[in-house]
């Protein structure tokens, strides 16, 4: 009887370990969560795309952040919200309340008619 209970406990222990292993290391594991890092890269690429299309510099120097925002929205996935702030010297606080938020800064030298440097800051967070 004593031997039987020992065997039973050993079996329970082994089953527990196997069960825990399957829970901790499930097959087809999802990629590790690193979405905010990806948002940053995505945001920078969006601004870079707009600049390569010759639209960002002029709009930034003219202070037209709303048009940049509209263009950015079209390029970002719908699951993300965004806000654009154009800075000459110091940058205003956009006052966004979000659990996870990232920002990237894109440097602008100006455009043909106005050579005035600016920084375009793009804030990105998950849409509610």
């Amino acid at each position: 009887m004593k031997g039987f209970s020992k065997t039973l406990e050993a079996v329970i222990a082994v089953l527990t370990i196997v069960g825990a292993f399957l829970v901790i290391f499930p097959g087809g594991e999802k990629p590790v969560e690193h979405e905010t890092a990806t948002w940053k890269l995505l945001a920078f690429n969006v601004l870079d795309f707009l600049e390569k299309n010759n639209t960002l510099s002029k709009l930034a120097v003219e202070g037209n952040s709303s048009t940049i925002e509209e263009m950015v929205e079209e390029l970002l996935p719908p699951s993300l919200e965004s806000k654009v702030v154009i800075c000459e010297q110091s940058c205003e606080d956009p006052g966004i309340a979000a659990e996870k938020i990232v920002s990237v800064e894109y440097l602008i030298g100006g455009y043909e008619q106005r050579i005035e440097p600016r920084r375009v800051v793009l804030f990105v967070w998950r849409a509610e």
Binding site: E9, A10, A13, T16, I17, I24, V32, K40, I108, I115
Partner: protein, 211 residues
């Protein structure tokens, strides 16, 4: 108690498995974030270089020296605001309305944004090495302006040699200056970005026809 040993051993094993899993995940997250951040920092440097190129090409008709300085200082401050250090040595050269067979002037402006004082700066032009210039204690954010006289009969390439000495390094640049009739800007920029996770360096030469 002897029988429960298996259960206790099982619990310890599970705890170890959980620890392994957690550490692996944190490691993966850190590695990915580091990779993405390094990628972003290298893109930021490219962004700065592309904009500098634009500023210079848009300045083909006026203020090319001052526009370059303004942009470089702005870029340095902008990176400083993000906690990153942008170090630059800018060597800007131009000649205007050069005519064959006459005496012409090469203007040279060197901006020190290396984040340290240059204790000695030597500038010489291969057209005539006797016109060699030496400057001492060039402070951070200070500009040195000098000129060299040259003449030519046919288009030719000369070289501007710039050597600087700081407490931590000594470096020499050779900047090719194509000489021909007309006006030309030749900029040489040593750019280094010290970010949070990476260090990126580049040297770029930009030539602009001035009108």
């Amino acid at each position: 108690m002897k029988g429960q040993f298996f259960i206790i051993a099982a619990i310890i094993t599970i705890l170890i498995l959980v620890l392994i899993k957690t550490n692996t995940q944190i490691g993966k997250i850190m590695e990915t974030k580091r990779y993405v951040e390094a990628n972003l920092e290298s893109k930021e440097l490219v962004n700065m270089e592309e904009q500098l190129e634009k500023v210079l090409s848009y300045s083909f008709n006026k203020n090319i020296f001052s526009n370059a300085k303004k942009f470089l200082r702005y870029a340095k401050l902008s990176f400083f605001g993000k906690g990153k250090e942008l170090k630059i040595l800018s060597i800007a050269n131009k000649y205007e309305n050069a005519v064959a067979g006459t005496a012409n002037t090469l203007e040279v402006e060197i901006l020190n944004l290396l984040g340290t004082t240059i204790s000695q700066l030597n500038v010489s032009f291969s057209y005539d090495f006797t016109q060699n210039k030496t400057f001492e204690n060039v402070e951070e954010n200070e500009t040195i302006y000098t000129t060299f006289t040259f003449s030519f009969t046919v288009p030719e390439n000369y070289t501007l040699y710039v050597t600087y000495l700081t407490p931590s390094e000594q470096k020499t640049y050779s900047v090719r200056i194509p000489i021909e009739e007309g006006s030309k800007f030749v900029g040489y920029f040593d750019i280094r970005l010290e970010g949070f996770v990476s260090k990126n360096e580049d040297e770029m030469r930009i030539e602009v026809e001035i009108k």
